[in-house]
Structure formats: structure tokens, C-alpha cells
Amino acid sequence: MFGEFTEALFSIFFIETLINGLLLGGVLALLSLGLNLIFGVIDVVWICYAEIIMLGMYTIFFLHVEGGLPLIVAAAGGIGVTALLGWMTHRFVIAYLLDAAPINQLLATGGLLFFFQGAAMVAFGIEFRNLGISLGSLAITEDIYLSWTRLSSFTIAAGVVVVLYLFLKRSYLGAAIRAISQDREIMVLMGVNTKRLYLLTSMIGGGLAGLAAILLALQYDIHPFIGLSFGPITFVICVMGGLGNLVGGFLAAFIFSELITIGGYFADLEWGYVMAFVFFITAMFIRPEGLFQKKS
């Protein structure tokens, strides 16, 4: 049995799995970016983030498949809708709870979770939808095939991370967003309208969800409750990387995705998730503030 194990470990398929893990990591990293941005700046966790992504996926589906619009346009529409949803989440829910207990903020976004699920069910029904786009695979060697969808997801995710990084480092708004997470109170002295900055950050967070929606829509079916399948993973990645830590979340995403894919290689996919979650729970005990958070 051990011999089988080592054989499996060094097989070409394991290497393919590792690479696939990296590619999945790209998508998960993107998922965690928006959540981390919002938490880092506004100090709230949107439990409904995955549901916003789900609504973005539906938007893309309807614009492209039912509406016949080119995928690029549908994608832009998806991002627009999710950015708007992000804005609305802050404007109509979070803004009233900025001084409430953190757990109340969490629960309110939980209410939004149900609201979005219900709305999706009403508007779109419960059949599984699919974008129906298959991009085929790229053969790296004779035996290793990587799906184009996964590859483009990774590339887009990496690109977005770079763009976001540049935005935060080089632009005035980016500087303000970085600053407000460090000292909210004196932003007023810099002439910053904190309310508007929060709304802008929420919009960006929503927009990032839209981007994630595009990537996920290319690979998975769309259903009102799919948020429940990648929501918890996203939170866990963010917490593991240190809530609010963009770089930490990014790295944690890759650790996680490798665990999931490797676990899925040796056993059922679900065991991969179990492994990842158990790793998370264990990691929490070793480093409660997140694996990559600098101890302040």
C-alpha cells in the first residue's frame, strides 16, 4: 500500500494535480481579495459575499445566453451589477450598523444572504444554469492537460491582483483606502469624506465579486444556493491569511487550493475540502490572528 502511495505521488497525474491546484488558487485568491479589502477598510465581514457573486453569475448568464450579448459585454454587466450590490449592501445595511457589535454586522449580512438567495430563487428559479462555454484543454506534455478555463481564470486573477495592487499603491484613492484602515478618525483632517470612501470601497469589493463571478461561471453551474459551496472557503481563506491582509489572503488561497486538489487526488473531492478545513481549524490554534499577520 505504501508502494502505491509513493507511486501515486510521483506520477504525472500528481504533477497535473499540483498545477491545477495553483490554477484553482488563482480563483480563490480573487474571491478573497474583495472580502479582505472590505474587512481591512471597513472592518465588517460580508457573510453574503458569495451570494453577491452568485447574482453576478446569473447576470452574466442572462445577458449572454438569454440576451445574446457577447461574453465581454455580459461580463461587464455582471461586474456592474455586483458593484451596485456592493454599494447597496453598505448604503442600506452596513452604514446603519457601523457602531454596532461586530456580531450584529455579521448577522445582518447573513440576513442579506437569505435575501439574495430568495431573490435569486424567485427571479431565476431553481434549475441549474450553465454558461455552456467550454474552452478545451492545453496539452503541456503528452500526458498533462490543463483546461483553458482554469488557465485563463488564473491569468485574469493574477492580472486583477496586480491592478489592485497598483491602484492601492499609486493612486490617491488607493492611498486613502489604505489610510482609512489605519486611522479612521483623522481621515476627516485630510479632507476625506469617509462615508463616500466606504461606499467606494464597497463598490470595488462588489466589482471584484463580479470578476470572480465571470471566472466561476465559466467553470461551474449556476444555482441560487451555490454560494454555500464556496462561501465558507472564502471566509476561511481570509481568516487564515489574516482578516484584512490582502497578501496573506492571497498566499492562504494557494495553500488551500493545493490542499483541496491534493485531497481530491487521493480521495473524493469532499475529503479535499475536509482536509483544508481541518488544516484551517488547526492553523487557527497555532496562529489565531492568521498565518501571515505580523504580530503587532
Partner: protein, 234 residues
């Protein structure tokens, strides 16, 4: 330039300022001195919009400050160096300066003002890419002052610039303030270190338990036996 009339302010149910009236004319340097808990910081925060005033008026060159949204006050030319510096610790010195001229009104002049501030504080230029949180106390104060200067303010509000600094550093900070004053910048300083601050200002008010007890020129106050006894332990 800046006039406060009968300002009453506080926190929640607690009143910290009672009918404060003072003024600063263009080109002047004015200090507000007083013991701990007198309300000096509250005064600064009311002027810069961090806390609202219960009643009274604040006038900046003819425009009412209390009627302006707090985030618009910097556009009136009022820049505030907060108590304890309040730098953005995980951002570079230069990024902190950048935040000083954040509003569109000031952004175009970033390069020009940056050069000005670096000339004033060469050490800031050396450390421009260093994270502000890693600077020494004195350097942080310089950085905070520099940040406030980025918007080329009409009046500079300084809240306890000597707080938490070693005496040698405090000397340096006040020398810097003198240099800034040399260009004719209007300044309102709130300070506990009476000896140092009276060196650099024209006039001063004495604030005690939320009320103005005395007013006079710096020279007068330095001579005053009451001041010498209360604040300079003589």
C-alpha cells in the same frame, strides 16, 4: 483670520468648553496653554471639525466653519497636526505627505509642496520611503507637521507638539516651528510646555477647566508671577 465666538462643546453629556472666544489674526502665532484636562485638545478638535460644537460660532476669513462639512474644513485653509501625531504607520513618509494634499484642490501642487517640505525637513527626504511607524518620536512629529503643510494652509493648528518627546527633541521641534513662522505662516498652538511655546508665539490664552482665564502677549505671560507659579513651578 480665525475667530471663535462663545464656543460651547463637549463629549456626550460632558461639557468640556464653556463660552470660549478667541481670535488669531493673519501672520500671528497664538498659543493656548493650560493644565491637563483643561480642554485644549477639545478646542482644536472643534475647530478642525472632529467634534461638533453645541453652540457658538467659528469664523475663518469670513466663512463659517461650523456650517462647513468637517471634511471640507481643510479646503478652507485650516490644517490640523493632531495630538500624538496620528501618522499612518503602515504607509511611507511620502505617502503620508501625499495624504496631506488629498483633496483635488491641492493635488496638483503635490510635487511643489513636497519639495518645500523636504527642504524644511531634510531628514524626511532621506526617509521618504520608510514606513512612518518606524520613525523616531521627533521624526514622526516632523512628518506630521510636514503632512499638514502639504496643503499650503492659511493657518496651522498644532495640538501639543511636544507630547511624548524627550526634552532635546522638544527643542528641535520648537526650532522647526520658529522656522515655519519665519515664512509668516499663521499658527495656533495648544501646548502644555509653557516655556517652550511662549518662546515662539506672539500671544497666548490660558485655558483652565474649559474656561479662558487669562490673555496676553507672550512677553507679559512669561513675566507673570501667576503663570510662573502654576506652570513653570517657580
Amino acid at each position: 483670520m480665525l475667530t471663535l465666538t462663545n464656543i460651547v462643546a463637549g463629549y456626550g453629556g460632558f461639557r468640556a468648553l464653556f463660552n470660549i472666544s478667541l481670535n488669531v489674526t493673519a501672520g500671528e502665532a497664538v498659543a493656548v496653554i493650560g493644565p491637563n484636562g483643561a480642554g485644549k485638545t477639545t478646542l482644536m478638535r472643534v475647530i478642525s471639525g472632529l467634534i461638533p460644537a453645541e453652540s457658538g460660532a467659528i469664523d475663518m476669513e469670513g466663512v463659517s466653519v461650523l456650517d462647513t462639512a468637517p471634511y471640507g474644513i481643510i479646503n478652507m485653509g485650516i490644517a490640523h497636526v493632531p495630538e500624538n501625531r496620528r501618522l499612518f504607520g503602515r504607509m511611507s513618509v511620502e505617502d503620508n505627505l501625499r495624504m496631506g494634499c488629498f483633496t483635488p484642490q491641492f493635488r496638483d501642487r503635490f510635487e511643489e509642496r513636497k519639495t518645500f517640505v523636504y527642504e524644511l525637513f531634510p531628514r524626511m527626504k532621506e526617509r521618504r520611503n520608510q514606513m512612518a511607524g518606524t520613525l523616531s518620536g521627533g521624526e514622526q512629529q516632523m512628518c506630521a507637521i510636514g503632512r499638514a503643510l502639504m496643503s499650503d494652509p492659511r493657518i496651522l493648528l498644532m495640538d501639543e507638539p511636544s507630547a511624548g518627546l524627550a526634552p532635546v527633541i522638544v527643542q528641535q521641534v520648537f526650532s522647526l516651528i520658529e522656522r515655519i513662522r519665519a515664512d509668516g505662516l499663521t499658527v495656533l498652538i495648544v501646548e502644555q510646555n509653557v516655556k517652550q511655546v511662549l518662546r515662539v508665539v506672539n500671544r497666548a490664552y490660558v485655558l483652565e477647566s474649559g474656561r479662558l482665564k487669562m490673555e496676553g502677549s507672550a512677553a507679559e505671560l512669561l513675566e507673570s508671577p501667576a503663570i510662573q507659579k502654576s506652570f513653570m513651578g517657580m
